[in-house]
Amino acid sequence: MTTADQALPVRPLWPAAKDVFFISIERMLPRPRSFWVFALLALPVFFGVLLRIYPPKDLPLTGFELDGIVVALFFIRNLLPLVALLFGSALISDAVDSKTLTYFLTRPISRLSIFLGEFMAYLVTVLTLTVPCVVLTYLVLCVGTPQGTGFGATDLVQDLGACALTLFTYGGVFALLGVSLKRPLIPGLLFLFVWEGFVANFPGDAPNYTLTAYARSLIRHRPSEEGLAELFSKFFPVGESVLVLGIVGVVSLALAIWIFSRREYVISS
């Protein structure tokens, strides 16, 4: 055996992050939990197929509008934040729980690259699960309708962008929660269903302080909401929404990295 050169520096950020990514994606994506999440995300596809096979007599909405509701209400408002909570909060804590973080921490790579690699794996995982469901939902609801499949093609692409941004931002927020708290689940759920759920529909400027109000502003083809939500829903220009979501995501990630870089992980048998 030859002796390794001890003067070697820490590996550069991105190549190291890429190697962490390749390991993490394999440990994140092909797992039973991903399958179940995919099954849930694919519910609208199943529902759409049913609707097309057994169409109600007086369908009050066009397929394209229904797609808008599904994207806004099912994906952006409810399921994607939950997916982000599931995978995002587990970014580091999963490795701590499974006691495999030691393998990363005892390699010549910076903690920043570990975190970035894990986060990239998170993004690729959640997008792999989400994007086909959004696309298939659109196709199932719009193919062969009077408006035609191509009618909302640009909206479909925008919806995909909105979903990706939602996953990025909530992922960042929940990654922060995951590295800060030992039990991020209940605070995460409180944030999603108490803060995001109620405050987003308050009158006045209250919705400015929720992420969901910005995320829903990105879905431009949804019909108006009903009840209180219709009265108080606040919508922001697309540019502002993208900016706010992007900034919140990046700042959360930066904080999460800062905490992760300084924290000790006592992993013992």
Binding site: F22, I25, E26, M28, L29, P30, D58, L59, P60, L61, T62, F64, E65, G68, V124, L127, T128, L129, V131, P132, V135, L136, Y138, L139, C142, Q147, G148, T149, G150, F151, G152, A153, T154, D155, L156, V157, Q158, L160, S217, R220, H221, R222, P223, S224, E225, E230, S233, F235, P237
Partner: protein, 344 residues
């Protein structure tokens, strides 16, 4: 990462194929169904329209012409656009793709709407405006009741707002987030009825022929039938008032690299056509005569060419951006001189 790679590739393949299918259908679907510059969704506009005109707002806002002349001298324009966006979520520059306006002559409108009572006005009530773009539907809807105290009705996937003030009977129908139709309530209803029955512009072969003759890619265009045009020529007065009746006009144009417009008017016969051409040539000659005072006028006169072909009159005009710029400058100078004189 063999297993994850397979999953990622499968997901990517599904997504790319799906999006590709949507876009390819959009392209091929439009090409197959559109009539001239009228998008397929607008074909439910009434066949008895006297004038149908349209603007490709996307091409307009993306043009060099718009970049040069679109916002200058109007400091409030940006604020106004921002205000519209704040209230309705709609940024006309960004969100509107195209506008098609169909104007129905009073007689035609009255004939097709026997229930309509009371005096009818020429103007917006008889104009049906069809807009395509991307509308933030929920926000647009939430802004409408505030502004006009409208009554909202949802029917067959379409949201219809009617003015409830009683002063007018305007209506706006939001077909979905991509299409908005506005006009008088009866016309909007006709449009919606046509949409479900398949009637519309295609019912009029003449109108379809006129629309098909428009050069593809035109930024703005208009086709007109006899009734409106005859009224225009009689009401305008002056030299135009003596013009022979024009049966129909097809006009279209573009903005880049120079502003170009082509119009073809169809007169009753060759004699009338010649008369119209003569009037236009005379107008051009008058501009040339004034070139001593303003050199740009000569250039304008040069840019206009008039020709006849049996009962048709072809008019072509090409004005460079530089010429428009100099016209604008001299107009501003004249305005400044006028202001100076008033001060003194």
């Amino acid at each position: 990462m063999n297993r994850s790679r397979r999953l990622i590739l499968t997901a990517a393949a599904i997504s790319v194929l799906g999006v590709g299918l949507a876009f390819s259908t959009r392209l091929t679907g439009t090409a197959r169904a559109a009539v001239g510059p009228v998008p397929p969704e607008a074909l439910a506009l009434p066949a008895d329209s006297s004038v149908v005109m349209g603007f490709d707002v996307k091409a307009l806002t993306g043009s060099q012409f718009y970049a040069k002349f679109g916002g200058e001298g109007e400091p409030g324009r940006v604020d106004a656009l921002a205000e519209i966006e704040r209230k309705t979520g709609l940024n006309p520059e960004r969100d509107i793709d195209s506008v098609v306006i169909a104007i129905r002559a009073a007689a035609a409108a009255a004939a097709s709407e026997p229930k309509a009572t009371g005096p009818r006005h020429h103007g917006p009530e008889n104009a049906l405006i069809f807009v395509t773009g991307r509308f933030d539907a929920a926000r647009l809807e939430s802004s409408l009741p505030e502004a006009g105290k409208a009554q909202k009705e949802r029917r067959d996937g379409v949201t219809i707002y009617r003015e409830a003030s009683g002063k007018s009977n305007g209506a706006v129908a939001l077909l979905d987030a991509g299409i908005l139709v506005a006009g008088d309530a009866a016309s909007v209803e006709t449009f919606l009825a046509n949409r479900s029955t398949g009637h519309g512009i295609r019912d009029s072969q003449a109108l379809v022929a006129q629309l098909e003759s428009i050069e593809p890619g035109s930024t703005f265009w208009a086709v007109g039938g006899p009734s409106v045009l005859s009224r225009v020529t009689s009401e305008v007065g002056g030299p135009a008032g003596n013009l022979p009746a024009v049966k129909q006009v097809v006009a279209y144009g573009h903005l880049d690299p120079e502003v170009g417009m082509t119009a073809t008017a169809q007169a009753a016969d060759a004699k009338s056509a010649t008369k119209i051409a003569d009037v236009l040539r005379g107008f051009s000659a008058m501009l040339s005569l004034q070139s001593g005072q303003r050199a740009e006028l000569a250039q304008i006169a040069d840019s206009i060419s008039v020709a006849t072909e049996d009962e048709k009159v072809h008019v072509k005009a090409t004005i460079t951006h530089e010429l428009i710029e100099s016209l604008k400058k001299s107009a501003m100078a004249a305005h400044a001189r006028k202001a100076e004189v008033e001060i003194h």
